[in-house]
Every structure is written in C-alpha cells, then in structure tokens.
C-alpha cells in the first residue's frame, strides 16, 4: 500500500513535468503547422529577403525583411540604453550601496519588472511621443528612438537583477585579495569583480535581448507601425511582434495573410530560441569554470 502511494505520487510529479515538454511542443507545432503552408504561395527566400510587406494588396507582398530589421533596430536601441543603466544599477547595488540601501533597491527593481508593458506603451504614446516632436522637431514621435527608450527601460530590471545575482556570487576573498594588493574599490570592481562574473552578465544581456525582441505591446503602440527600413532613428518601423498583434484580428483564418503572420512567428521564435541557446551556453560555461 505504502509502495503504491509512493509510486503514485512520484508518477504525478513526472506527469506534471512532462506537461512542460508538451506545452513547448504545442507552441512549436502550432506556429509551424499554421506557418509552413505559407510557403505554398511564397518562397522562403522571398519571405525573408523581400522588403515589401503588403499583405492586403492584390497580388499581396509577403516580404518581412523590413519587419526583421525594424525588430533588430528597436531591440539594439533598447539594449544600448538598458545595458549601461542595468549593469550600472547592478554594480551599484552589489558593490557600492550600503546593506540597507541594497535591501531597498533590490525589491524596487523586482517590482519594476512587473509593470505591465501596455502601461509603458500608453506612456510612450501619450507623453514621450509628443515630447519627441517638440524637442527634435520631427513629424512623428512614434519611431525607433521612442520605442528603444521605453523598451530599454523595460529591460533594465532584467539585466540589473540577473547581473546583480552574478556579481554577488563572486567570492569575498577575491575582493579581499584585490584590496590587500592596494587596489581601490573602483579598480577592484573593474578588474576583478566584473571580469569574474562575465558569464552571468552576458547571459543577463541575452535574456534582455530575448525579452526586447519579443515584446509586443510597447512596440505596437510606440514604434509607429510603418513597414519600412528606416534611414534614421526618428523614423517609424513595424517590428515583427507588432505586425502579428495588429493584423491577426483583421485577417481571415486560413488565408495566405494568416499563414504569413504565423510565418513571422516562426522567425521570431527561432530568433528568441537562438538567444536562449546562447544564454544557456554562457550559463554552462560559468558552471564548468
């Protein structure tokens, strides 16, 4: 009887774990099954390398290069903003703040990670964008620059909290050794602590990249929505997630346009999956050290 209960309970935990695999499989299967039929109409090469995205024209154009580039621009911009702010906060919290300061700052950063993206989007649309127009005298404030700023701020908590974890696992004796050799705090941070937690910091950046490239609401509301390759950062773009979110509601299920949106999801998934693999690589490298 006891043996039976033991095995029953154990089996339940195994079955629950299998659900994670099932869900992932379901996600992959659903986007591939709905996305691949597109390639009956469009060649993969044209889909990825063509810049014209006119899904409702007759005949339609399903080239997503400008959407991919739009995503990469906005994501890169977000990382350029988030990296110094996030890493800077992490180093400050881990190395410079007093224990009391750390106890306050850490939970605040954690709290910020929970701010809904749609609220950031609202802020970007109604406050940041008009401000951009006024300050820079540009025709639209919904552009790469605005989207990068908002997205960057969203990614700060991710980079900050994960980098902080990495920094705080650097053993104390490493720091003490550096101090004992006459280095000051700044030199110890730059020459000992940060290099020692390089893997953790890199994986936090990759996670931030994954979050930024897949974030939907902010870019849907702030990036402007024009399917073009921008010539400067003040032009609007239409990143991949925004395209899916904006157009899925207006398309006929089963139409080429519908499949094309799932095709975009496949590309988006592969990009994020690649970023996850790179993250894993950094984490494993850290473990093996």
């Amino acid at each position: 009887m006891n043996k039976f209960k033991e095995n029953a309970f154990k089996s339940v935990t195994y079955i629950a774990s299998l659900f994670t695999i099932l869900f992932l499989f379901g996600i992959i299967a659903s986007i591939f099954l709905e996305g691949l039929p597109l390639f009956n109409f469009v060649k993969i090469k044209d889909f990825i390398f063509n810049t014209a995205w006119h899904p409702t024209h007759d005949p339609p154009d399903f080239g997503i290069l400008s959407l991919i580039i739009g995503s990469l621009y906005v994501t890169l911009g977000a990382l350029i903003i988030a990296l110094p702010l996030g890493l800077g906060s992490a180093i400050y919290i881990s190395e410079i703040a007093s224990p009391r300061g750390r106890e306050i700052l850490k939970p605040i950063i954690e709290l910020l990670a929970g701010i809904p993206s749609v609220v950031y989007g609202l802020f970007g649309m109604t406050f940041l964008s008009p401000m951009m127009i006024k300050v820079f005298g540009i025709p639209t404030g919904l552009n790469v620059f605005s989207a990068s700023i908002i997205l960057g701020i969203m990614v700060v908590p991710i980079i900050s909290s994960l980098s902080e974890d990495a920094l705080s696992t650097v053993p104390k004796n490493l720091r003490e050794a550096s101090f004992a050799l006459g280095a000051n705090k700044w030199e110890t941070i730059i020459k000992v602590v940060v290099p020692a937690s390089k893997s953790g910091i890199l994986s936090s950046v990759m996670l931030g990249f994954g979050r930024a490239v897949g974030e939907t609401m902010v870019i849907l509301m702030v990036a402007g929505g024009a399917a073009q390759i921008p010539s400067n950062i003040f032009q609007p773009v239409r990143p991949m997630p925004a395209t899916i979110a904006a157009e899925m509601g207006e398309t006929v299920i089963g139409s080429p346009h519908f499949h094309a949106l799932f095709g975009i999801a496949i590309v988006l998934f592969l990009i994020t999956f690649l970023s996850i693999l790179i993250t894993e690589f950094f984490i494993n490298r850290k473990k093996s050290q």
């Binding site: 659900f19 695999i21 800077g88 609202l122 999801a265 993250t279």
Partner: protein, 284 residues
C-alpha cells in the same frame, strides 16, 4: 589627488548617475500615469460598466475579467508548477529527462508573449473549440505562468536545508512523506510569495489574451468560463487604438492604467514585504 583616485571618483559617480537616470525616468513615468489617471478614479469608475461606446462610465467588467483570468490561470499553473519543481529537486531521474525538462522550461520562459497568443488561438480557441473565452485565456496565461512558478518553487524548495530532509528520512519517512510533511510546508511561504510576485506579469499581459479571451466591449458580466471578457490591459490598448472618440477615450485609458498599475504594484509589493519578513524571522 592622483589619477587613480580621480578615476575611482568618476567611475563610482557614473554608476550613481546610471541608477539615478533609471529612477528618475521611472518616477516621471509613475507621476505621469498617476497624475493623469488619478483624477479619473471614483467609486463609479470602479463599479460601473462602460457607456456610450467607451466614452463614459466605468471599467468594472474589465476589473472582474482580470481578476478571474489571473486567479484561474494561477489555479491551473500552480499545482503543475509545484509538482514539476518537486520532480526537479527531489526525484530528478533520469538525467536526460531532467535536461529536456529544463530546456523546455527555459525555452517556455523566453517565448515571446505574442507567440503564446498564437498558440492559444490555434490550440484552445480553434482546435479545442473553446472559442474566444475566459477558458482559452486562462489556459494560455497558465502556460505562460508555468516557467515562472516552477522557478519560484524550485528556488523555495532548494532553500530548505538538506538537514531537514536527512532528519526526516533517518526517522524512517519515505521520500513522499518527507516532501509532503517537511519540505513543502517549509517552502510554501516562499513558493507563494515568489508566485505572487511573478504573477504581476500575468495580470498585466496583453498580447496572449488579445486573440484568446479579450473583447473590446461588453456590458455583460461573464456568466461562465466560455464567455469572452474585458480585461484591464487589453482595455487600455483598445481605448488607445479603437473607437472614434480619442479625446474622450484617453482619460479613461489613463484611469484604467492607474487601476492596473496599482493592482500589480500593490499585490507584488505586499508579497515582497511578506517574503522579507519571513526571511528575517526564519532561524535555519
């Protein structure tokens, strides 16, 4: 002052500047939202349905919708997540299965929320024929919450000292008895606070329910899990992008944002404080 001291001085203050920029931006952000939306908040706003094509009235149905979607999706994901965490921490065999499960969890954690929306659309809405409904939205959000709950639970279980497990086994307890009577009760407060903190994200998610549960406008309160619902995040988006009275809709969007933000920050804030108290109090 020598050059090393100057470098150190500049470096430390640049870090201060970075953290200051982050906080100033966030203060401005919070100020703008609360200043513009705060004045919308009234008893009527919280308890009435929208009127005249979203240009008047309150957001009560969206509050109810968000409440149910969040609660039900946690109810779905928490048991699965905790059991998976038990598998990963206590049984963890065979090694290849653990590896696959870990890859699955990490990948699920990184999948963009819009893809969760597409998954929910094809699987729950179309394949299972649940339609655009609370049920479809709950399941979609539940899957999205799984990796967060697993990570929170695993961390909580790992923080239970090994001593407790050994003591229990040495008294002749089985693995199951040890988990259910010692490890889980000890880890539970941390599992729950960790889950609640991450659940803020679930309550604020917009994209996954865009095609699975949300409707722009309904005056009816949901009566079953097969009804579609209004939810706070999608309501904000809808107010800003649909309808024809932008000037009248924007203040309502701000009001809704205040409610959503206050809810999320309040609930996770309380969880963070409780967790802090637990950590201070515990003696092992």
């Amino acid at each position: 002052m020598n050059i090393r001291k100057i470098k150190a001085f500049i470096g430390v203050n640049v870090l201060r500047l970075f953290i200051a920029i982050t906080f100033i931006f966030l203060l401005v952000f919070l100020y703008v939202i609360f200043a513009k939306g705060g004045k919308m908040i009234s008893w009527e706003f919280l308890t009435q349905s929208p009127r005249r094509f979203m240009t008047e009235g309150g957001i009560y149905p969206a509050i109810v919708g968000t409440f149910w979607l969040t609660i039900l999706s946690i109810g779905f994901a928490l048991p699965l997540g905790v059991l998976t965490a038990i598998f990963l921490t206590s049984y963890a065999k065979p090694a290849w299965l653990v590896r696959i499960v870990r890859v699955a969890i990490n990948t699920l954690a990184g999948v963009p929320s819009i893809i969760y929306g597409l998954f929910g659309l094809t699987v729950f809405v179309q394949l299972f024929k649940f339609d655009v409904s609370i049920l479809s939205g709950t399941l979609t959000l539940g899957v999205l919450a799984m990796p967060m709950i697993i990570n929170a639970s695993e961390e909580a279980i790992k923080s239970v000292p090994r001593d407790f497990r050994e003591a229990s086994l040495a008294l002749g307890a089985t693995e199951r008895q040890t988990i259910l009577r010692v490890i889980l009760p000890t880890a539970l407060p941390n599992i729950l606070t960790g889950t609640i903190i991450s659940i803020g994200r679930v309550a604020g998610e917009t994209a996954p329910i865009l095609f699975t549960a949300a409707t722009f406008y309904t005056r009816l309160r949901p009566t079953s899990v097969f009804d579609e619902v209004m939810v706070l995040p999608d309501h904000i988006y809808a107010l800003m992008t649909e309808g024809s009275h932008a000037a009248k809709q924007m203040p309502i969007a701000y009001g809704t944002a205040v409610v959503l933000l206050a809810l999320v920050l309040f609930v996770s804030g309380v969880a963070i404080i409780i967790r802090y108290k637990i950590r201070k109090k515990r003696k092992w």
